[in-house]
Amino acid sequence: MTTKNSAEGVLIKGANLLGTDVSDVLVLDGVIAAIGPDAARDAGSDCETVDAYGLVALPGLVDLHTHLREPGREDAETVASGSAAAAVGGFTAVHAMANTDPVADTAGVVEQVWHLGRRAGLCDVHPVGAVTLGLGGSELAELGAMAESAARVRVFSDDGRCVSDAVLMRRALEYVKALDGVVAQHAQEPRLTENAQMNEGSVSAVLGLRGWPAVAEESIIARDVLLAGHVGSRLHVCHVSTAGSVEILRWAKGRGVDVTAEVTPHHLFLTDEHVRTYDPRFKVNPPLRTQEDVDAVRLGLADGTIDAIATDHAPHSLEDKDCEWAAAAMGMVGLETAVGVAAAAMVDTGLLDWAGMADRMSVRPARIGRLAGQGRPLAVGEPANLVLVDPETRYSVDPQSMESRSRNTPYAGVELTARPVATYLRGRLTASEGSAQR
């Protein structure tokens, strides 16, 4: 399939909409102009035609959790290179985490990131604002100023660090109510995880690596859902990784707490058994857990206890990964492999169909981030944010062909079957066959 950008619109022929309904889609002026038999009829003679038979059409994907590293670590990623990686991965919107240098804790920094995203033009970049000044965990950042800035921040997070102080967390949860915002918590009890290197369990016991116990995540989630319930606030939990966390979330949702949660593709797919290689590409925070945890987060995502798949795309320079385990940085790139890995975990196993994937990778994350033009139905009049996914190609992940500036993927050489082949942002082709269309 080859595609290009055309001023006269695009007629996407024979795409399987949400995997349920084969139809033509006409995109004109950035919106979905027609669906079904009307599409071909309304297409002008200069309209480009795309053969999408056998491809699944989904609303453009929305990532709640992306590290774009700019400003500060442009050697690992920039807003532009990260946007390109996002487009290749099928994303039309990403949330850029606040742990940059300087930290995104002022209107100035979030506007800078927002402008860089606009300039790159490959996906909508929505900066996340820091909850506390400098991610220091002691004073609230100016959340209102970031919300009112051009970047219109709605998601606030100290991600990378936990807002561990209970009083500060309570205040942040309360304060963002006035902004229609949400606090996205990186749930990690700091004292229980000092110098932690991997999941604490039978594998860490053998490898002699300092353990990161599940309870350090679960105890914070338990506290936070109780706090959110108490003050009537909206809470989002980042990168849920343990079976116990899923149980706590299920309980909280059952009680009516306004909590949402995300899981990463890698926590749906990989276990701490991989750490036996001491290969730092498997070093990530929260750490890879056990098969039991993987099974539980998959089921939690399938039944809606976990709302969204979020990549936690964390680019790191080669220097930060080409070393012994303890010295290596935590994190893995994930934008370009998210669909393939998530489909292997959820679709190939029968836990979600493609409509379910659209819900977890687009509809719900857009709602959590309060993004008006994203995660919309595939319907006439809606913004043409679309991704075409080939659900049955077989390919091996090649880090060298990635758009990201970093290569720290744990999937090099792994065979996947689902792959985004074309991404449209408001009708404009932003990626085709693994290459960003700048």
Binding site: A205, L209, G211, D322, C323, E324, A326
Partner: protein, 313 residues
């Protein structure tokens, strides 16, 4: 034999037995007036130490020199893990110099594994202690010492006491002794046993006195100073009372039982001077045996397949 010695788990029963038998042969060299064999002449062994350990380094140095290898001591202390690139650069440097074997001591668990699998270096890697992971040659010298005193290891009851959580010696001993068929019991306060220890090929207990009944070997582990202020146990005195080996406890051991310690000891903490200096203690012998065992490891890793002494005896 494998090309590297990274973990005691790398050794099959045959491998381990071959190393111990070879060490037995090589030990005889130490009784000669000229303690030297030509076996590794022209080969280069690098002792790459990122952590202070004079004892282990000189033991490897003596072992390599008795086999006539050229020995280079590379002390990279101060190259902390925060400067991780230094491991790679150091490895590339050693590769450029043509090291046949690299004996590495490193504060990061898995560093020898990384070195062996990184492609940075082509020689054999010997783990001389990595973080809180393993110290396989210590386990081999311990097994060698046990075998000399008890003749067999299979079926023997070995009690390992102390800070198992942070002990590379304990991890390697559990793995090797399981391969050799011993019955291992770990004894420690619950705070100093790792989560997941129940899946190790051994049993564990919190009660030293009960565990000493019928023991053939008691191995005391060193308690590091930094554990003392981190709530692993209330006080040094309480630790000593509950988990220290004193003359009274030693007197309840079977007649033939031996007392071991990987050193350096905290006399008066995990072991009293009376025990350490008693004839039950084989601690100094462990040091002597360390040289023979490390000779055997270097010899076998660097390609020796015939009898280590050839027709020389």
């Amino acid at each position: 034999m494998t090309r590297h010695l990274l973990s005691a788990a790398d050794l099959s029963l045959d491998d381990a037995t071959l190393i111990l038998d070879t060490a037995d042969e090589l030990a005889r060299v130490s009784d000669r007036p000229v303690k030297k064999l030509p076996t590794l002449r022209g080969r280069t062994v690098v002792n790459l130490f990122f952590e202070d350990s004079t004892r282990t380094r000189i033991s490897f140095e003596a072992a390599a020199k008795r086999l006539s290898a050229d020995v280079i001591n590379f002390s990279a202390k101060g190259s902390s893990v925060s400067k991780g690139e230094s491991l790679k650069d150091t490895a590339l440097t050693l590769e450029a110099m043509g090291a046949d074997a690299v004996v590495i001591r490193h504060p990061a668990s898995g560093a020898p594994h990384t070195l062996a699998h990184s492609g940075w270096i082509g020689g054999s890697i010997v783990n001389a202690g990595d973080g809180t992971h393993e110290h396989p040659t210590q386990a081999l010298l311990d097994a060698f010492t046990m075998r000399r005193h008890l003749s067999t290891i299979a079926g023997r009851k070995v009690v390992i006491v102390g800070d198992v959580l942070h002990s590379r010696v304990a991890r390697s001993n559990v793995l090797l002794l399981a391969t050799l068929g011993a019955d291992v019991t770990l004894v420690a306060p619950p705070t100093l046993l790792p989560v997941g220890v129940d899946q190790w090929p051994c049993t564990h207990s919190y009660d030293l006195d009960a565990s000493l009944v019928g023991a053939d070997v008691v191995m005391m582990l060193r308690v590091q100073r930094e554990r003392m202020n981190a709530a692993f146990f209330p006080s040094v005195r309480e630790y000593s009372r509950r988990y220290g080996l004193d003359a009274d406890r030693m007197s309840r051991l079977p007649e033939h039982a031996i007392v071991m310690h990987p050193g350096p000891m905290n006399r008066g903490l995990e072991i009293t001077a009376a025990v350490a200096d008693s004839d039950r203690a084989v601690i100094i012998e462990q040091v002597t045996n360390g040289v023979s065992v490390r000779m055997a490891v270097l010899y076998l890793l660097l390609g020796g397949s015939d009898s280590a002494l050839g027709g020389d005896l």
